[in-house]
Symmetry: C2
Subunit: 189 residues, 2 copies
């Protein structure tokens, strides 16, 4: 890892994702996805936490929540939360995220999807960790609802393995999945 | 690990915990602590997820939420959530948890606290993982608010190390902390 730390961003996608029957839907932004993932991102050195929804009212709502903690009353009483939520950027599309990441780092980031189901383009955690430590810029995509739409999965550079504990149950919350994956890639054990 | 899997329980403590200034308080139960930690517990083979509060109205509320998913409408539309929340037991005190764990496994479980700050009785993740695999029954305690009260920390058999990413920020949500610790101890990497 370079002296400046890893180059890693996280994006939480609210559209296009799938519902339980596999239909393409847009999901609603939730307050705790903003907080928990920002706090995990801040712990593990994520540079920007992108929150993606094409719904303008949802973006406005998310902006008000984030503003309460970064510029409003919340940040005064809880500076740790201000520090965490300051890394959130709200945007409309994944294309905007890719553009923003490229502009920021002046190079294309490798884009990894995450999925609770096995994918054909899986890249292991040790491999991704090693590449991160070598300075490769990365963007991790997380889907809300029942996960990223097939069109997103098909366009990425690779997919991280599903998180398995013991047994067949793999219905973690996206908040848990982000936390575990950041710890696997960036944790100081 | 025995053929029956690890013997591990998790308890989420709402009293006694501390607030930001170190005073002993009781915190409120939150819906998403029930869901996220139950889902992570189910993923990693946690046997019982104990939710502890001395407030009878809070226990009643938590019971109604859990009942919606285990016996009510929610479990019908989302059987995975029913499976996860079925491992929740709500009780009033940590003593009740210790009694329940002892009765269930017919032996005393080793009790580990978790804390965002270093403790004098720290036991490393690799050591705890090895003991779990050897069949030692364990109970992990997690504090809400700003963490477990000193009287709880003083009474446990050991404390797991704080979760560190990079840098000094260590303000993970309890939902993230549980998920990461279960993955460190029980994840199939």
């Amino acid at each position: 890892m370079g002296s400046a730390g890893p180059l890693i961003d996280v994006a939480l996608i609210h559209y296009p994702v799938v519902n339980r029957t596999g239909e393409i839907i847009g999901s609603a932004i939730t307050n705790l996805d903003l907080h928990d993932i920002a706090r995990a991102g801040c712990t593990y050195g994520v540079d920007t936490y992108w929150v993606v929804t094409p719904d303008a009212q949802q973006r406005e709502l998310a902006g008000q929540i984030v503003g309460h903690w970064t510029q409003g009353y919340g940040g005064g009483v809880n500076p740790d939360r201000k520090q965490a939520l300051s890394r959130i950027r709200i945007c409309a599309t994944l294309d905007e995220v890719l553009q923003g990441v490229g502009d920021k780092w002046q190079q294309k980031a490798t884009v990894f999807a995450t999925c609770a189901r096995p994918a054909s383009n899986t890249v292991g955690y040790a491999d991704v960790q090693s590449r991160l430590r070598g300075g490769e810029p990365m963007l991790l995509l997380f889907g809300t609802a029942w996960g990223l739409a097939p069109e997103v999965m098909a366009a990425v550079d690779g997919t991280l393995p599903p998180i398995r504990g013991c047994g067949e149950f793999n219905h973690l919350s996206v908040r848990s999945a982000v936390s575990i994956i950041l710890d696997r890639l960036l944790g100081d054990r």
